[in-house]
Every structure is written in C-alpha cells, then in structure tokens.
C-alpha cells in the first residue's frame, strides 16, 4: 500500500510549474499564456488525453502507484477544467495515493 506523504509548498510550486511547462510544450502555447485559471480545453485546445498524460507523468515522477480507475472515480467527484484544478488533483494523488477516495478525516466516502 502506498503511504501518504505531505507535499511542501516548494514541491507544490514545482508541480504547478511542471504542469504549465508540460502544457506549453504539448499544446504549443506560450508559457506566459498559461495561468491558474486557464482552461485546458477551452483556452489551450487540450483534449481528454492530455489529462491522462499528465497523471502518468506525475505518477512516474513521484513513484505513485494508484490505479487509473481510482483516479477516474476521484475525477468524477472533482472535475477539472483549469490549470489550478489540475494541480490540486495532482497534489491529492501524490499526497494521498491509495487513500485518494477516502475523505481526509479517514472515514470511507459513500
């Protein structure tokens, strides 16, 4: 079982900047056009595959073993549209790993 970890503010900033750089590179958009409220599909012409690519990238980078199906269930409750929302989901995946679907109090969610 993956153990939870707490990201530092610097690590969160790194993740956020990595997401911006990834999107800039993959979607051929200038970095300065990508901010926290930028919508990945509507403003950058991303597609659903880009989310999967991002998640896989971070799972490898942080050696997190969470099943994609678990991430899928999490995304159904926490839909993502913007860069900041995407970063928040990545933080949750890295910090909570297998416990991703549990409420932060630890009790199982419905």
């Amino acid at each position: 079982m993956n153990t939870a970890r707490q990201l530092t503010p610097e690590e969160k900033k790194d993740i956020y900047e990595h997401i911006r750089a990834f999107l800039s590179d993959e979607l051929d958009v200038p970095l300065e056009d990508i901010g926290p409220d930028t919508k990945i599909i509507d403003d950058l012409h991303g597609d659903s595959m880009i989310y999967l690519e991002l998640v896989e990238d971070f799972k490898k980078k942080y050696d997190v073993k969470v099943e994609v199906a678990v991430i899928g269930r999490y995304l159904q409750k926490h839909p993502i549209y913007t860069v900041q929302q995407t970063a928040e989901v990545v933080y949750a995946i890295v910090e909570r790993a297998d416990a991703l679907l549990l409420p932060e109090s630890g009790a199982p969610s419905a």
Binding site: L44, H45, E53, V68, I71, Y74, L75, P79
Partner: protein, 229 residues
Amino acid sequence: MFAESLELTPVPVGAESVEVVLLDLTRIEDVEAMAQDVLTAAEREAYASLGHPRRRREWLGARAALKAILLRRGRISGAAECEIQKDARGRPEIVFAPGAHAPEVADCSISHQGRFACVALSGAAPARIGVDVEAISPRLLKVAGAFAEDRQARLRSRSAEERLTVLWAIKEACAKALGGGIGTALRSVRCEETAEGRHRVWTDLGRELRAWHVERNGYVVALADLQDE
C-alpha cells in the same frame, strides 16, 4: 443558408435509429459568419468565452452539424429554434425554443479531434448515446499502460496504434453515454469485439453498453449506446 452548404459525411456506425456524421472543420470558410447564422444569443455568449480559435471552430462546427441535420429532416425551420446545452451530467442536450414544435429527438452526442467534428443524433428513446472521434496516432502508445490494462479487452488483431485508438474511442464514447467526463473514461471497462466493428462493453459500475467503431481517413469513429436506465 448554412444548412445547405455544410458538407456532412454520413458514418455507417451504430443502430439504424442513430444518425452519425462527420464535418470537415477545415471546410468552414468564415467561422464568424457561421456563428452569426447558427447560434442563438445564449450560444454566442458561450462561444465568445472560448479562448482558442481551433476550439471555437470545433465547438461551432459541432453545433452547426447538429442543427443542419435537424433542419434537413424538417424538425426545425431555423437554427434559432433550438440550442445545444449541457445537462447536469455534462452531456449535450437539444433544448427547443418555447413555442417551437419539439420533434422527437431522444439523444445527441458531440466529439471533435483534428480535422473533424462528429455528431450523433438518436431518434429512439430511451437509449443514451455517446460518440467519439480519435486520430490513429502513436500518442496513445505512451499512456497505453494506464488505460489499456483491461486484460479482457479482446480486440481483433490490428496494429498497436489502431487497437489502442479503438479502445480509447470506445471508452470515451461510453463515458459520454454514461456522463461523467474523463473520470468515467478512466474507469475499468471490459470490451469484447463480437463481430467486425461491433462490441459488447461492461463497466465496473455494472452497466452494459453496445458499441461500434469504423475507421475513416486515419480516424476511428466510435459510437456507444446505453439501453438500460
């Protein structure tokens, strides 16, 4: 009028009660003029909020294609008589203007990638449908381990790129039929090709769908329908 000039290519996929068409987005000559022709005031507001020009073209093209089908079938007499909105599950639905004669349209679905917008219109309730168009490309090879873990996905022998594209397009089409966006697409599905281009799909939510796919010009078009409610 845009409905006469729009070249829609029928795609023979799915049940007979479902019409599926492709629109080559590169053939739209004047996007802003089409937006004026096709969109209601509320739709123009949503269109104006889209930042990327290609996203605007896709979004508009899909709506133009759906409305053109309705016009050609005589179901509406003008583009302003309906608009495409999102329901609570994020699925597109056709909402007819007050006073307009609302024809029987059970469900619709929209997809776009690369050159094409793809729309599907079902006339048979209670089916919910989902459509997806994907370019066959090596891009999926990088993430195959993530979404193609379905050990029971039995797809007839194709190249790895084709097989992955078919599987991803079917997952996306099923996700659109079910609602729930990318989250639903990432959940486990089992997919069995029962005949050339025909599939049975089961999800980890216990839902069963029918799905079909065809390949056209380097793209896969997949359609899924959900019969049970």
